[in-house]
Symmetry: C2
Subunit: 423 residues, 2 copies
């Protein structure tokens, strides 16, 4: 398949043109039509799951032959449970409220016109992701529900799996009377397809890259289209001197150890000097018992036996591993200063019983999620009630934090009059 | 002044660094502090208006010597009335509600955490604009109210006027206890300053260019920072076959002739075939009486005597002049198709008494403002009740349509718990 495409740029342009046309139809599609398509896709994946697993086996065999490591092969594999969860995801997205067409803030102006806003799709989304075939269905479903056409470019190792899922999506769309071009999966493994996709502002309205930091940085630098991106997750918990120490213990332990490899895991713990000894002497043994390596500032190392000295680099590192950097700070000011200097603007939490401190932290910690007395691990579209999540944005422009259906939409102004003219 | 700065990139980096630091203070500033600063700036401009007019005279004399045309010189001039209106603008912005810190959508989740959102500033805005000194005060005021630091780079012809306004702004900020670096006016006319400003994502969060299409396109292409931009205003009015013909006449005449040089002026009139003769025979003499040149499709030319044939280029042209292109279309479908092909996604209006047609037009016309029975000339931040306007965005990403204070903000998630951890 992929080798049949010789001119990748022309091919991508054609996909883009078709996506733009399909996006018009999707923008005008009713909620019922979109939901019918989502349910038909779910049913189609369910009834053709043997074919899907056969295609996935081709990818797994090619991957093993290529010497992919176990973690990559695991992500690539479509088990029965993963297919079930893909189907369930489609049905859940069908059940979510449709954001499109929502009208709000309608007010009469002194001139007599009535002005408000209407939520509309962005248009065409380009999704670039690693070799996880379930993302094909998830991302397509979120875009479809929010009225956006999509061009999906998954990792080349998942080529056959993605094409099989694309076939189910197309059959589902057609069954619901929507254009098959509303979701297009790039049918070439040529890397030039990515370069083309991110430089077609006439056909693509937003790029959502998912994957390693290197890939995302490259895409952001080269894109001529807005990017919803997520780079690091260097998250902090600050234990204030007016913290409830038991809450501090629970949250700081959970934020680090509930899972190590997620972007909302705490990487640096800040502790107010006044409670540093009490808090750290409780926490250190608990971390060590779980095998967490502790790297601390000078004061921390004085308190915790077995703590190694943190270097400057530690404060700017996303470990994604059982390692934690710890700094004792003078007070809230220094904690906020540390966060706004070293954070990746993902998620920060303060542990305090003092409402004035909590209010200041909420206002001044400049990150996409800011919490009081809660674990950073809650920073997630599902936990926030968005119903689903296409990514977490650490940017401030357009969407910030977990991005659900709303992040895939825009708002236009609508004006109703009765022959009103401007004088 | 300008010639004292030899290393423009280093200078802009310094401004950027100071702006970033000041933006932290502004984000934490209270509504009262920001309002006090705005009122103090207004008072300072009022009491130092003689100095300001002297500095403005220097610019006018230099401009005249350089041979600037009358229109440019007019825009450059700070008359007493314009200074009054600048002062009044500052006071109006002080009187607007503060968008920053607004908390909304707070809901309890099944886990017990409470999740909502808080409106926060974007951070640092870079404004690039033509030689209209009043923009210096307007743009600075909108950014200040929305908690953003600004770096302003006005047209070189207004150099002395802008520096005088900057001095008032700095005195006002200091009087209110806010850092003077919250608003910085670039003190060099070297064009390299623009190139530097739009490629400092570490210091600048958004670029807002105001000026000619060429400038805006260049900035958009070269920027490494998000841009809120406004290119063309190719606006349409569609007269449906179920229009009230008197309303159609009023709106179509007003949308074209109330002012010719504004971006929300209608450039193309679409008329349904069934009412084309009636509508155009009413409208044509009225347009001609006002000196509007009519360029029509074949059918239009059959109806209107003295109409010249429109070329393909006409449908994609923003005249900003007493010229109107007219096309007779079959029906609403063809009107929407024409608009979504040729519009610059600024503003479109349908004239109809039919609610089903109106609903379809509102949903399917893919522009930043979509109207029913109202003149496109209403597309404006003041008319919409935003209180002020920093520009009109024809993009879909982040801000769309007239951009007021809200478009200069972002939203972060806030989470309140009581020691909640994720299980």
């Amino acid at each position: 398949m992929s080798d049949q495409i010789t001119d990748v740029v022309a091919y991508m342009n054609e996909l883009g043109k078709q996506a733009r046309a399909a996006s018009r139809a999707l923008a005008a599609a009713s909620t019922g039509e979109k939901n019918n398509a989502l349910l038909a896709i779910a049913d189609d994946i369910d009834t053709t799951r043997d074919t899907l697993m056969d295609e996935n086996r081709k990818d797994l065999e090619a991957g093993a032959a290529k010497g992919l490591d176990a973690a990559l092969l695991d992500r690539l594999e479509l088990t029965t449970a993963r297919i079930d969860s893909m189907i369930e995801g489609l049905r859940q997205i069908a059940a979510l409220p449709d954001p499109i067409g929502e009208i709000f803030d309608m007010n009469y102006r002194p001139t007599g016109i009535q002005v408000g806003r209407m939520r509309v799709p962005l248009g065409v989304a380009g999704i670039i992701y690693e070799s996880r075939p379930n993302v094909t269905a998830d991302a397509a479903a979120l875009c479809l529900k929010s009225g956006n056409a999509t061009v999906l470019r998954g990792g080349s190792e998942a080529f056959h799996s993605n094409q099989a899922i694309a076939a189910s999506i197309h059959r589902g769309l057609e069954k619901a009377g929507l254009p098959a071009e509303a979701v297009q999966v790039v049918a070439t493994t040529d890397r030039a397809a990515v370069g083309a996709m991110i430089t077609m502002p006439e056909y693509v309205d937003v790029i959502i890259p998912r994957g390693g930091k290197g890939l995302i940085e490259r895409i952001s630098n080269d894109a001529r289209v807005p990017v919803i991106k997520h780079l690091d997750g260097i998250c902090h918990v600050y234990i204030d001197d007016q913290a409830d120490i038991q809450k501090a213990f629970d949250v700081a332990l959970n934020a680090k150890t509930q899972r190590y490899g997620t972007c909302n895991t705490m990487e640096t713990l800040l502790v107010a000097e006044a409670v540093a000894e009490e808090a750290l002497l409780m926490l250190a043994p608990a971390y060590m018992k779980k095998g967490v390596e502790l790297r601390g500032c000078k004061r921390t190392c004085e308190i915790i036996e077995g703590c190694t000295a943190a270097t400057d680099e530690d404060w700017d590192t996303e470990y994604l591993a059982p390692i934690l950097s710890i700094r004792v700070v003078d007070d809230l000011d220094q904690a906020i200063e540390h966060i706004n200097t070293h954070s990746s603007q993902h998620t920060e939490s303060i542990i305090t019983e003092n409402i004035t401190r909590a209010r200041r932290f909420l206002q001044e910690a400049d990150s996409s999620s800011v919490m009081v007395n809660a674990s950073t691990r809650f920073a997630d579209g599902f936990e926030y009630g968005l119903g689903a999540e296409i990514g977490i944005s650490t940017d401030k422009f357009h969407a910030r934090g977990p991005v659900g259906l709303e992040g895939l939409t825009s708002m236009k102004f609508i004006v109703l009059g009765d022959g009103h003219i401007r004088s």
